[in-house]
């Protein structure tokens, strides 16, 4: 044990001797890890946000299609769906998008009748009358309002209306509520000039999750102009989109990784005359090949682990504290560019482990192999230097 610690101590002091060279390697290594880890963290976090969103989403959303486009659905269709065996609740939902051209912000406006149980509040209450609204965090921050303040929205008739903020959303998933404004349903219909007897879509609850696909087919048969979308289908779409986007990013950054590997290989295989001489000295004064390899292992581990941890920390801060400023525009898509939202930290340890494996192990190998080649030769060459 003492031997290992002694060699570790020497390895660390050895690294300090070549400060500039090792610092340069750590910087390049850290940036490579930080970039790739940022993509992984961001993708994983968005996927996890999507899962959170879908946890609160209905089992099936039924939309109506007219000429291949989303149209309002008759509320009477809800009754037909409700009569199908296996279906629980069917809720007509009224919602729409609102764009504030001054702030250049996209919102989702949703109508509610009672207090929705799947949307936890940070503070305050849901809108109790046509003069109140409940806001997501992103909107509150964009307008600088809080409970009790007033918010002006311009309706479909181009008239401004003042709403009193009655509550703010808590954010387990910021993606879910960040850009959401709740109004009373009647007020929302007036706001968007939506006709009575029609809804934006129908939210269907299914008792047995394994029946979701079958019921979706039955709904399609019963209502041919409808488009039933299952929860897993949405999740799959999110997954595909994020995987595709992160795939593109990772392909781009693969060149960075390859450049790093070339650097590491060059550094390792091009063991300098000085390093060869040092290995010779160590062997001559009683170090055996294993001791030299242990020394090189500690050196490689110290550099690669330091750089990997720094890279992972920088990526974590970049993604979860600074909103992934460098990558978010590519990975998130237009609808969530504004208002700003902070991602909920979600890390896939398996991905992190693979990244560690793909960077630390090759680096250590690149350090050890050439040292081994030198260390297995007789040390008497040092006597002749």
């Amino acid at each position: 044990m003492a031997r290992r610690l002694n060699i570790l101590e020497h390895a660390l002091s050895s690294l300090l001797r070549r400060k500039q060279k090792n610092l340069a390697i750590i910087v390049v290594y850290t940036l490579t890890v930080a970039t790739i880890a940022s993509v992984l963290f961001l993708t994983q976090s968005l996927r996890s946000e999507a899962v959170n969103v879908l946890a609160a989403a209905p089992d099936i959303v039924v939309q109506r299609l007219a000429a291949g486009r989303h149209d309002l659905i008759p509320i009477a269709d809800a009754e037909q769906i409700r009569r199908m065996p296996g279906v629980g609740k069917v809720e007509p939902r009224v919602w729409g998008y609102y764009y504030d051209s001054l702030k250049k912000v996209n919102f989702t406006l949703m109508g509610v009748k009672d207090s929705p149980t799947n949307l936890p509040l940070l503070q305050g209450t849901f809108p109790a009358n046509n003069e109140q609204c409940t806001l997501g965090k992103g909107i509150a921050e964009a307008y600088g309002v809080t409970i009790g303040d007033s918010l002006v929205l311009v309706d479909s008739s181009n008239s401004s209306k003042l709403y009193q903020v009655s509550g703010l959303f808590i954010a387990d998933s910021e993606l879910l509520t960040n850009d959401l404004i709740l109004l009373q349903e009647a007020e929302l219909r007036r706001f968007f000039k939506l006709p009575d007897g029609r809804a934006t879509d129908l939210a269907v609850e299914v008792y047995n999750q394994r029946e979701v696909a079958t019921l979706a087919k039955k709904i399609k048969l019963a209502l041919p102009d409808s488009r039933p979308i299952g929860k897993t289908e949405i999740l799959h779409t999110y997954d595909t989109v994020f995987n595709w986007r992160s795939g593109i990013m990772l392909t781009l950054f693969a060149s960075a990784l390859i450049a790093f590997c070339i650097l590491a290989w060059d550094k390792a295989t091009g063991i300098s005359a000085d390093e060869k001489r040092e290995i010779g000295i160590l062997k001559a004064i009683g170090w055996d090949t294993n001791d030299v390899l242990l020394l090189k292992f500690w050196e490689g581990l110290a550099i690669s682990l330091t750089a990997f941890l720094l890279g992972a920390i920088i990526a974590y801060l970049h993604v979860f504290f600074y909103g992934a400023g460098l990558l978010a525009p590519v990975l998130q898509g237009w609808s969530v560019l504004f208002p700003q939202f902070n991602l909920t930290p979600a890390i896939d340890l398996y991905q992190l482990f693979v990244l560690a494996l793909l960077t630390i192990v090759p680096y250590i190998a690149c350090t050890i192999v050439p040292a081994w080649k030198t260390a297995v030769t007789d040390p008497d060459s040092v006597m002749r230097s």
């Binding site: 003492a2 001489r277 004064i285 170090w287 040092v382 006597m383």
Partner: protein, 231 residues
């Protein structure tokens, strides 16, 4: 005193079966008793360093035997040879072979790192040797900042830190002036008094003419040990 090192029919050929093959040693018979000082004289390229390398377990002979305290070490696996180099030998090289970017103190500790000796014990040993060689006040200085004489003393300190039985010195005065050579001779005499066995390769008369110090004198020429003088 018992014979500590004995070689028989020792041959060393470098780059064997290659165009630049070189016979460095031919049938060398060398011996030294415990506590003696032996000197290998001879011009450059005569095979002194090759013989020291083989005796010091840094290389393997092409043929012949090397008996160290009555054990044949010529065919031992590398890790045993490394152990012998660490536990039995202290080396003083012609070019000092110090790590220039390390401090004097860290250089001295190098042979002890791959041992089970604790950090505290290592440092106390190093402090003691530095005190004996009057280098205590400079221990944190980098080797590259030291004079030639000081570097020589650091090399000696490193050779002694593992408390070796045998000290091998290859042209130890090659880079020293007369005063520093005198200083080295004093140190070697002290080591002899302490019972160390010392083998010195040199062509410096200031060393090989030290009759009080030298017990055996060998002359090497073209890889042959031509003459043995027992003083």
């Amino acid at each position: 005193m018992p014979t500590l090192i004995e070689t028989k029919d020792l041959c060393k050929i470098y780059n064997r079966h290659k165009p630049d093959e070189l016979q460095a040693l031919s049938d060398v018979a060398f011996s030294i008793d415990q506590g003696q000082v032996a000197v290998l004289k001879g011009p450059s390229g005569s095979g002194k360093t090759s013989l020291l390398s083989l005796i010091g377990c840094m290389a393997r002979p092409t043929s012949g035997s090397i008996r160290l305290a009555d054990k044949d070490v010529a065919k031992l696996p590398e890790r045993f040879l490394a152990e012998l180099r660490r536990d039995l030998f202290g080396f003083i090289f012609q070019q000092f072979n110090l790590m220039r970017e390390l401090s004097l103190f860290d250089n001295i500790l190098l042979p002890l790192y791959p041992t089970e000796i604790s950090g505290k014990e290592m440092k106390s040993r190093a402090d003691e040797i530095l005190r004996q060689l009057e280098l205590g006040d400079r221990k944190q200085q980098k080797v590259k900042q030291l004079s030639g004489g000081e570097q020589q003393r650091v090399a000696i300190a490193r050779a002694l830190i593992n408390q070796p039985e045998i000290i091998i010195a290859d042209e130890p005065t090659a880079h020293l002036d007369r005063a520093l050579t005198e200083e080295l001779l004093t140190i070697l005499a002290r080591l002899k008094q302490n019972g160390k066995t010392i083998i010195i390769a040199t062509h410096d008369p200031a060393i090989y003419q030290q009759q009080e110090l030298i017990d055996r004198s060998y002359l090497m020429h073209d890889g042959n040990l031509l003459e043995v003088e027992r003083l």
